[in-house]
Symmetry: C2
Subunit: 188 residues, 2 copies
Amino acid sequence: MMCQLFPYAEPVTRWLEPEQQQAWRAYVRMQGELNAHLSRQMSVDSDISMADFAVLVQLTDTREERVRVLELARSLHWEKSRISHHVARMEKRGLVRRESCGSDGRGSFVVLTDQGRSAIEAAAPAHAEMVHKLVFDQLTASEVTALQAISEKILTRLTTGECAAVVARCDADDAMEVVPQESGCSEA
Amino acid sequence: MMCQLFPYAEPVTRWLEPEQQQAWRAYVRMQGELNAHLSRQMSVDSDISMADFAVLVQLTDTREERVRVLELARSLHWEKSRISHHVARMEKRGLVRRESCGSDGRGSFVVLTDQGRSAIEAAAPAHAEMVHKLVFDQLTASEVTALQAISEKILTRLTTGECAAVVARCDADDAMEVVPQESGCSEA
DNA sequence: CGGGAATAGTTGACACATCATCCACGTTCG
DNA sequence: CGAACGTGGATGATGTGTCAACTATTCCCG
């Protein structure tokens, strides 16, 4: 009853088709186990986590080997508080060091230490090898292409329109409605 | 020097080819952001996490709506301690309930509560819709097929040979080799 | 029957991510 | 100049995942 009267109240959920189900389950499991395996492998034989690795990569990618905290946050797509906590832990272990920023009293740099450099140099080869073995050795060239295309399509959807707006509505406490502004947010 | 004398000492790291780099970076970011988005969406509009959801799905998939803890662990591919902690938290929120197992004094069941059932029924449609919007609406039929093929190939590699052995070597301290027993576990 | 070993599950310590809050500094504009 | 507001970053509480013990039961075998 009241089916056609309130079409908006009964959107008739779009469940997944069987082929979609299969693909989705396979993807979800693969992604979970791949993450788990890469993480564990890295922490077992290099004593750093994937998160540490990501931070160290950003640091070594820069000449000067020092990066502002917020730039780290942006390039890793992490929240600033996550960066802050993580850098604190890494500092405690001697992988990085903080330096205050002269030109902007609020800011601070994250600086790579020698220990941090040797840590990433030790970890990188095994990690690359593992990615080869687990992923690229299993795939044909066209599958690699497809993987990239698929990832980019989904990524585009994720960083466009409503989705991006949800992410961006961070600390607007008294904004009664979220204006899905599609530009002018991040590249200040 | 000493290049060919000690070939094993200098394995000449296999770094990623440019196309591989691109595909890998795209995949890693997509996977991270997709996870984040799905998790946040679910906890925002249904007040349960993806982990809760996964547990509840397992419970509703069974007639009786009660499952042994270890069976849960196996079907979700989680560690038993993770299950234990998580079930404890879910119990505290009223989503599930524990019941002791008569036939095996060590075991216990996890049972779906009414509140748990309504929680998953409330969460499922929005989740399915989100997966559609973010993933399948973006992909062609052949990309869906490719995604499944890719996932299954990688998954096969992960659950075969050395990788599986690493996972399985849990508390077998003195077991020199791991026998990958494939049945006879769950139906007591 | 008795004494290991395996099994089912819990627990505590720790690493990590997220959220809300806070503070210090900078910018803008009256 | 100085109040208001935005920004860079730190902090504490809480929920979650992992690892390493630990308990209690059951199984196996002599």
